[in-house]
């Protein structure tokens, strides 16, 4: 029988078993990693964002949800200019945070 569709893999997130040891390590290295309120200021003012996809907000959230594979490559676009640090209302040390992410998640800058 053909109903014209097939069973496909569920697209819902499973967050019951978040394996977050890496995020914990990140939060240890840079405690500000847990302070984000998702306001989007960093993304809105990002110097790289004009040319390419770069959203620190999305990266941080993806790390917390352990679904970072799709998001981490954006870090390649970061110029470490520190503009996001100037606008972050939570006063997050974004430069150190970005460098810490690179270190823990093994990304070469």
């Amino acid at each position: 029988m053909d109903f014209g569709y097939s069973l496909s893999k569920s697209s819902t997130m499973k967050i019951e078993n978040l394996e977050n040891s890496k995020f914990k390590a990140l939060a240890k290295l840079e405690p500000d990693a847990t302070k984000c309120i998702g306001c989007g200021c960093c993304t809105a003012s990002c110097s790289a964002g004009v040319f390419a996809d770069m959203s620190l907000r999305q990266i941080l959230l993806s790390l917390q949800r352990d679904c970072q594979d799709k998001y981490l490559p954006m870090l390649q676009n970061c110029m470490l200019c520190g503009k996001c640090m100037l606008v972050c209302p939570r006063g997050i040390n974004t430069r150190h945070l970005i460098l810490s992410i690179c270190k823990i998640y093994g990304i070469e800058q």
């Binding site: 306001c39 200021c41 809105a44 959203s55 907000r57 606008v87 209302p89």
Partner: protein
């Protein structure tokens, strides 16, 4: 003879507390530093959620003051505590005694020019919620001339560690929703955007205001904090934010930007706290004895506090606290007299 009770601050809170104390048989003395009574209520045009005229509420609060002594334009020099209570001395040399003291010195509006990246005081077309209330009240303004695109910016000077204020000011989300609807009434052709991080519409009927703003007035709510504002060559403004729900940075050209400045501690709170030897919270507002059980009482005997001086509050909340503080002062004095402390 009726006992004096000194109240510092003649805003909505001080006025309501004075009336309750008078009705309980005391002789309240309001000391107000400004030229007029009424506090911040004088600055507002219509009040959320129903749009009641602020003038009407102000009139209600400032009339029927029989039995209440009040002094405006006062400058408090010293406050001394003795076994008998408090002595407040003004810069003119006049002093007042009372067995209990009530602090109702309210709040200060966040000075928007401190948030430089929003350009208040630099770009003409950036105004504050307080400026807009003045415009509503007066009906004219040099800057507001048939704007086609209007932006509202939430959390200006609130929820922002960069300016040293982590607290939410509580009243500005409701104010923004109210003002956006009022602007649409005045300028039906304008497109109105509201940039928010969270919409904190906590009070009864506040959510209905939001629904009306969406349904009736078509206000466009964008979830993202404005990161910076600049001026274009033609004098219009360029606003940067991220639409965090769509995950896209955006730039918007607009004709008028309204900043929702928030509630910060009144300047005099720090010096009054020092004189009275009481603590301020990390946020700079007075710290009550117990935030749940005794929100209107200080650690010190005979010292009470109510209204926006202990944190952001709406007017009905402020008035309830004013009445509560008055009753607590009454109970405190009764107990003290019975036990012979005073």
């Amino acid at each position: 003879m009726a006992e004096n009770i000194i109240i510092i601050g003649g805003g909505p809170c001080g006025l309501e507390a004075a009336k309750t104390l008078r009705d309980l048989g005391y002789a309240p003395i309001i000391l107000e530093k400004k030229q007029e009574l009424g506090g911040h209520l004088r600055k507002w045009d219509r009040l959320f959620p129903e749009g009641v005229q602020a003038k009407q509420v102000l009139k209600e609060l400032t009339s029927g003051l029989k039995g209440i002594e009040w002094h405006t334009s006062v400058d408090i020099e010293t406050i001394e505590k003795s076994r008998k209570g408090y002595t407040v001395t003004l810069s003119t040399g006049v002093s007042y005694n009372s067995p209990a003291l009530l602090l109702t010195n309210g709040f200060k509006l966040f000075p928007a020019e401190k948030k430089e990246e929003y350009g208040y005081g630099i770009y003409d077309k950036v105004i504050t919620n307080a400026d807009l209330e003045q415009y509503f009240a007066k009906g004219k303004d040099n800057v507001i001339k048939k704007p086609k695109t209007i932006g509202f910016v939430h959390c200006v000077g609130s929820r922002d560690e960069k300016v040293g204020n982590r607290q939410c000011s509580k009243v500005c989300c409701a104010t923004a929703v109210k003002q956006a609807c009022e602007m649409k009434e005045l300028f039906p052709d304008a497109t109105i955007y509201s940039f928010y991080m969270d919409l904190r519409l906590f009070g009864r009927n506040y959510e209905d205001m939001y629904l009306t703003a969406q349904k009736k007035y078509g206000i466009r709510y964008i979830r993202g904090r404005v990161s910076e504002v600049s001026e274009d060559i033609d004098g219009s403004l360029i606003v940067k934010a991220e639409d965090t729900l769509l995950c896209k940075p955006l730039r918007l050209k607009i004709d008028l930007l309204v900043l929702m400045t928030g509630i910060v501690p009144e300047n005099s709170s720090a010096s009054l706290a020092q004189q009275l030897n009481i603590e301020l919270g990390e946020d700079g507002f007075y710290k009550p004895k117990d935030t749940i059980l005794e929100p209107c009482m200080a650690e010190n005997n005979g010292l009470f506090m109510a209204g926006a001086c202990t944190g952001p509050k709406t007017i009905p909340e402020t008035l309830s606290e004013a009445r509560a503080a008055a009753v607590q002062i009454h109970n405190y004095l009764n107990k003290s007299w019975i036990s012979g402390i005073l």
